[in-house]
């Protein structure tokens, strides 16, 4: 699908210091019934965000107006569980462009990259520092620079490099998706099939 090109983002961040955030929490199964990729942000973290009667839970971070920004910071093993791409759509649709954690589940990472959402892996120590910075100043800003592959804590000036597959980086920076590329290989694929029969 098409998404905005990704270059540099400077923004405050929303902290979610919970480990093993699974995709059933990010978007519960009962909200997967749409047949289009729209509107999933409304139900992002649905059961943590709203009580059973649909009222916002005051203690959940997305309901706290003090926090805002395009960067979501999660605890380790973010995005485990179900392969539902709706999780990445929901986070993107809500307005995030970056998710930071010390560890991501594989399928979630792929899904995020395929949808213009950048997963940034930082060290466990650096992650803790990010949480600390936000705790003392919810408006503290962070910069994600995809070209140089660095994540910077603007307040402290500290930064850490992050890894990304060069092909995926190219796709994100240019807003390209894989399907056009694969379709361009049709002849090669047909040739390959002959060797398999």
């Amino acid at each position: 699908m098409s998404y905005d090109k990704f270059t540099t983002i400077t923004s405050p961040a929303v902290p979610l210091p919970v480990e093993n955030v699974d995709t059933d929490q990010i978007i519960p199964a009962r909200f997967l019934k749409a047949v289009e990729r729209k509107g999933f942000g409304d139900n992002l973290f649905r059961d943590w965000r709203y009580d059973r009667s649909g009222l916002p839970k005051a203690d959940f971070v997305l309901n706290n107006p003090v926090y805002s920004g395009q960067i979501l910071v999660g605890g380790k093993n973010f995005g485990s569980g179900s392969s539902r791409e709706h999780a990445a759509w929901a986070i993107y649709d809500y307005g995030f462009r970056v998710v930071v954690s010390s560890f991501f589940a594989d399928i979630f990472k792929n899904n995020a990259l395929n949808n213009g959402l950048l997963p940034v892996v930082v060290s466990a120590e650096f992650l803790q520092k990010i949480f600390n910075t936000i705790e003392s100043d919810p408006k503290a800003e962070f910069t994600v620079d995809l070209a140089s592959q660095t994540f910077t804590n603007v307040t402290s000036g500290e930064s850490e490099p992050f890894d990304i597959n060069p092909y995926k980086k190219h796709c994100l920076m240019n807003g390209l998706d894989d399907i056009d590329f694969l379709v361009s290989l049709k002849d090669e694929i047909a040739e390959f099939e002959k060797t398999r029969l």
């Binding site: 605890g75 589940a105 399907i179 694929i189």
Partner: protein
Amino acid sequence: MTTKTLFDKIWDSHVVQQVEGGPDVLYIDRHLVHEVTSPVAFLGLETRGLKVFRPENTIATPDHNVPTINQHMTIQEELSRHQVDMLTRNCEKHGIQLCGLNHPWHGIVHVIGPELGITQPGRTIVCGDSHTSTHGAFGAIAFGIGTSEVEMVLASQCILQPKPKRMRISVEGTLKKGVTAKDIALYIISKISTSGGTGHFIEYAGSAIRSLSMEGRMTICNMSIESGARGGMIAPDETTFNYIKGREYAPKGEEWDKAVAYWNTLKSDEDAVFDTEYTYDAADIEPMITYGTNPGMGTGITRNIPLGDDLAGSDKLTFEKSLQYMGYHAGERLLGKPIDYVFVGSCTNGRIEDLRAFAGFIRGKKKAPGVTAWIVPGSKQVEKAAQEEGLIDILNEAGFELRQPGCSACLAMNDDKIPEGKYAVSTSNRNFEGRQGPGARTLLASPLTAAAAAVTGMITDPREFLIDY
């Protein structure tokens, strides 16, 4: 380097091209499709004006949100009906075999693939569902993908994937009585954690694994994803070939002999190197049950909930949050805790052997009053076998009934939702918060342990009953 793992052999033979500095273009032999993760992919194809590249290698079934009663009637819930109708429309339009509701092949996507003989050794198989790892039991590379990737495969029969690392988990020795494949799976995840397999493809090996039936092997491979691994696989052998032989899509005649000759080459070379290796002793494994909100939070059923003393910082907070959700306390005994629901089903334990194990256990006993039990076959063919083998009569006599096939309470997208705060012993694969319904509390276990809970109304060691089992 010439030595290769089983995984390397299959992966390498499916690489169409290597993208410079990027992932491999991996050819996909079979693509399984269901109603929830496919509509946006089909829509994407249409927007691009593309057709499905290899419809003959694609098969579809609606399983995630179908009701498990009155399947002959129109689906009541509008959004579910719409998704199922979309799948039907998309399959018709693109010439894809659909095993719709009431089709004799209908069922959970990971149950019907093997049942129809579509799942074969040496194949690459994907589906927009993380438990695609199930098919690895046949010595195939099978893994779950996201919807963008579903669209890639529909458009090109290929997917862009970086090659994962290799892990081998060996379980050696003989399993104790009352210990099943599900217990092995929960045991492994409790050891390596829900992120221990991340970045890896697992090969399960060792005498305890070899001794399992195909259905047991599927249960183990199914749960690979719960350790974070991309998938799991087991080298094919006679058990595998015997299972496949004669099935709908299995090779026949001369083709069969050729296939078996190839399948026999599918094993890791003796000196093949794995990035990570674990070995466990089958004798150490007890019937397992989970007490928390991820599949790694499991323990032997006779043990107490851990104290969590060794945890600190966010690990500790996560542990406490989880117990709070479950209404449990650190250090508590699990045996004897009351339960409200029992769910037997899912692509983990919804096959005929699972129903046999459950029915064998409850034969001559009665469902505990106050327990609600949902017994859901994984497919129409499982349902039919249960009928023919008389399992349904056994169930009925003990106060249970068999529903119709589908994912059901495994993810509660249909009406089969465990109510808030209630405890469910479930043979499915995920005990995440709200997985079986908002506020539901899930205890993952084997069909035997589920049966013991169903007749006592509490967490019970199934081995207590094994004399007359």
